[in-house]
């Protein structure tokens, strides 16, 4: 249907422009449906490392998400992974790999890599950009962690020291030593991650960095660098640095936002969406369902001057969790869903949403929608509230992505499956 006249309303309105919303929107648009994505603002993709963490802890460290998922789902009946099968997770990963042109994503749900973070903690991730995979401490040899003096958001000494200690504790110590490169700052006192990534798009700058690296790095070392090696041209920047230094190079996601790999992934998905003829409306907010005799026929959208309905046959609700305002905590202490007013499974008015200790299992953490086996949000009786509304991503409750390292895996797989369910119905 792409490219054909659009005289009628949309088939699908996708609410939310994060990982879950974008994945659903791209799939639906590529299948020929008319898709309008409405997002209040950019999603958390641009802040997160853009590794696909499927399951890192459950609660013990997970070596193979594929093997761990069935048991995990059984032990957590209210969890999104109780609805998403391991096969669906694998299919969604495969789909993502085929849809990112910037560079390759490597790895799969059968095994977690252990990728160094900016504070030197190895983090279990099943799937990651090829630029990061070389840091996998399960196999890596000695490392030189290189920082840039003009970039204050990455501290090579901190990363290297912690990495040595942490890998020793894991039983496979990795040698890591810090290196600080001294690079011209082009009249600027310092750079943020994005500014630096833009400089890496410049070949002259890259060869300066390569020269510094050659001088600083020893024979057998793998070079770890902050994940700022270029934006759209990350693959060539990374390849060129490896060639020029003769050493493997890997990227470490930075701890302070924004996230350059997250921006790369967001921009790759947006490009796909445009190519498939999908529409994206930024800065508009869903404020309620458009109903006709109890049937949902569209979504009420607030734009610059008015609230008006966008009519559609299906809705994908991917408005995120507490961090993005998809779920909000009312003054009363109760959690609510903002876009369609769906019932939230979580603390009610007067319930204790939060416990005294920072690391406690706060009930509010898992607040979100309950969904049926087709990802339709359900009411207290387990019945779908609307037969044509599907939920995806962090708006679905029951997970603790921060502890489990499961956030992007849940968003990817549920976004993929929500699109599946609609495509099945569209025939």
């Amino acid at each position: 249907m792409t490219g054909q006249p659009r005289t009628a309303a949309a088939d699908v309105v996708v609410l939310g422009g994060g990982m879950a919303g974008l994945v659903a929107a791209v799939r639906l648009a590529e299948a020929g449906l008319r898709v309008v994505t409405v997002a209040k603002g950019h999603g958390s993709l641009r802040l997160s490392p853009a590794t696909i963490d499927i399951l890192g802890y459950g609660p013990g460290r997970v070596d193979s998400p594929a093997q761990a998922l069935p048991g995990f789902a059984e032990a957590h009946p209210g969890h999104p992974y109780a609805v998403v099968s391991p096969a669906a997770v694998a299919m969604s990963v495969q789909w993502l790999k085929e849809h990112v042109d910037t560079y390759s994503y490597v790895g799969d749900p059968s095994a977690n890599m252990l990728l160094p973070t900016a504070i030197g903690v190895p983090r279990p991730s099943a799937v990651a950009p090829e630029t990061m995979a070389g840091g996998d401490v399960r196999t890596a040899g000695p490392m030189a962690i290189a920082g840039l003096g003009v970039f204050k958001d990455f501290h090579p000494a901190l990363a290297a020291e912690n990495l040595q200690a942490a890998t020793a504790a894991y039983g496979r110590p990795v040698q890591a030593r810090p290196v600080l490169l001294d690079l011209p700052s082009a009249g600027q006192p310092d750079f943020g991650a994005v500014g630096l990534a833009r400089r890496f798009e410049d070949a002259a700058f890259r060869s300066q960095v390569a020269a510094e690296l050659r001088a600083a790095v020893h024979g057998e070392e793998t070079i770890g660098m902050p994940a700022v090696l270029g934006m759209d041209q990350a693959r060539s920047a990374w390849t060129e640095l490896q060639q020029a230094t003769g050493r493997p190079v890997f990227e470490i996601p930075t701890a302070v936002p924004p996230s350059v790999p997250g921006m790369r992934l967001a921009s790759a998905l947006h490009a796909r969406l445009r190519r498939a003829g999908g529409r994206f409306v930024l800065g508009a907010e869903a404020v309620g369902p458009q109903l006709s005799n109890g049937t949902l026929t569209g979504v009420r959208i607030s734009s610059a001057a008015r609230v008006a309905p966008r009519m559609c046959r299906w809705v994908v609700l991917a408005t995120g969790g507490l961090a993005s305002g998809g779920i909000e905590v009312e003054v009363s202490g109760a959690a609510s869903e903002r876009a369609l007013g769906l019932p939230v499974h979580g603390p009610g008015p007067g319930d204790a949403g939060f416990l005294p200790g920072y690391w406690d299992d706060h009930p509010m953490e898992t607040a979100g929608l309950r969904v049926d086996s087709r990802l339709r949000p359900v009411g207290p009786g387990g019945e779908p509230v609307y037969p044509n509304v599907y939920a995806a991503g962090a708006v679905i409750g029951g997970a603790r992505p921060w502890r489990e390292k499961s956030g992007d895996g849940i968003s990817l797989s549920t976004g993929y499956l929500a699109a599946d369910a609609i495509l099945e119905e569209a025939g």
Binding site: G3, Q4, P5, R6, T7, A8, A9, V36, K40, G41, H42, G43, S44, R46, L47, G187, Q188, G192, V194, G195, R198, P257, P258, M263, H270, A271, R274, R279, F280, V281, L282, G283, A284, S302, S303, A304, A305, R306, M311, S324, G325
Partner: protein, 408 residues
Amino acid sequence: MTAEQEFDFIRDSLDHCVKCTICETACPVAAVTPLFPGPKYVGPQAERFRGAGQSVDASLDYCSSCGICTLACPQGVHVAEINSRARAVMKQQHGMPLRDQLIARPPLQGKLGTPVAPVANFVLSNRLARLVAEKTLGIHRNAPVPKFAGRTFRSWARRQPAPASAGTRRVAYFHGCSTNYFEPGLGRKAVAVLAHNGCQVVLPRQGCCGLPLQSNGIFDAARGYVRRLVAGLAPYAKQGYTIVATSTSCGLMLKREAREILGVEDDDLRAVSSQTYDICEFLAGLAEAGELQTDFRPVPLTVTYHAPCQQQGHNIGKPALDLLALVPQLKVIELDRTCCGIAGTYGLKREKYDIAMQVGSGLFGDIRAARPDLAVCDSETCRWQITHGTGRTSVHPVEILHRAYGLG
């Protein structure tokens, strides 16, 4: 909500800032110059120190007011609006260049230039005169300035019989200054396209919306302009006319900037805001309802489409794409750039011209690479900037529809 409360609502939104820096990654100005540290720094962060009207940060002046930060913010912080208001205070305290007073008043330019259009256009295209203007006024010698049409849109419209239309949709056309003085042809085509779609089109008395004054920080005068405009449009809005605008930035002034930046709040403005539509938004709405005339002839051209920053501020996506998709044989290339750099009057200024051209360079490159027959764009100053940056003719989407309808 009173104006006072709305003002607080804008400023207080800074408490929602979680310092995620998404606005910084989206800002087209910070991407090209260290002179502007970015919307988060000069916005929600610096605002905390401004307190009792103190200006703490002169780099604010390098904000182009494109508004992309507000759009991108996931937490609902009105970054651009906070910055625009702070700049007005700063310019009040530090003095207003004569240049900013001049370029912010299109009606004044229009009234002076129109009767002597050949002379005015000669002066504007004369290198020596432009050099003098740069030295004395600070208007960059190469900045894209439009040509006076000589005959205004309104003087044409006065002599026209009301366009025959069988329909019953009542539309009040808000043409804005640039259509009146510089691009009267766009106004004629817009009226014809509306009439073709069954609209009875009237032309209310209207002047400048005050947007250039507002973006130059001259708020009192801007409020006067917008109040006068709204007074002229409100009777139509209250009678149920839809107000349709071809200038996407001036339409945005009526929709929300008058309230959110200038703090104007009254019944008239409310009535006008809620009835104001960008012309592509209006026509796409007809299309969505299955009520748009689709007797389009083939237009075998390749065009690029750039949605200007101010158009994105309407939060309506890109309705022009849905309309252009209806035209047979028209090949449309959607561009993915946020801003052309000009941002109204920003890129005219001597000290900002280079920044504006750098902001636009990505867009210019994409257009040149696409080698389109025409570069389509909704905003007049952006069209002039695009032509300046690429040498390509740039037109409003309605001009394509006009051609496809075979209206002349």
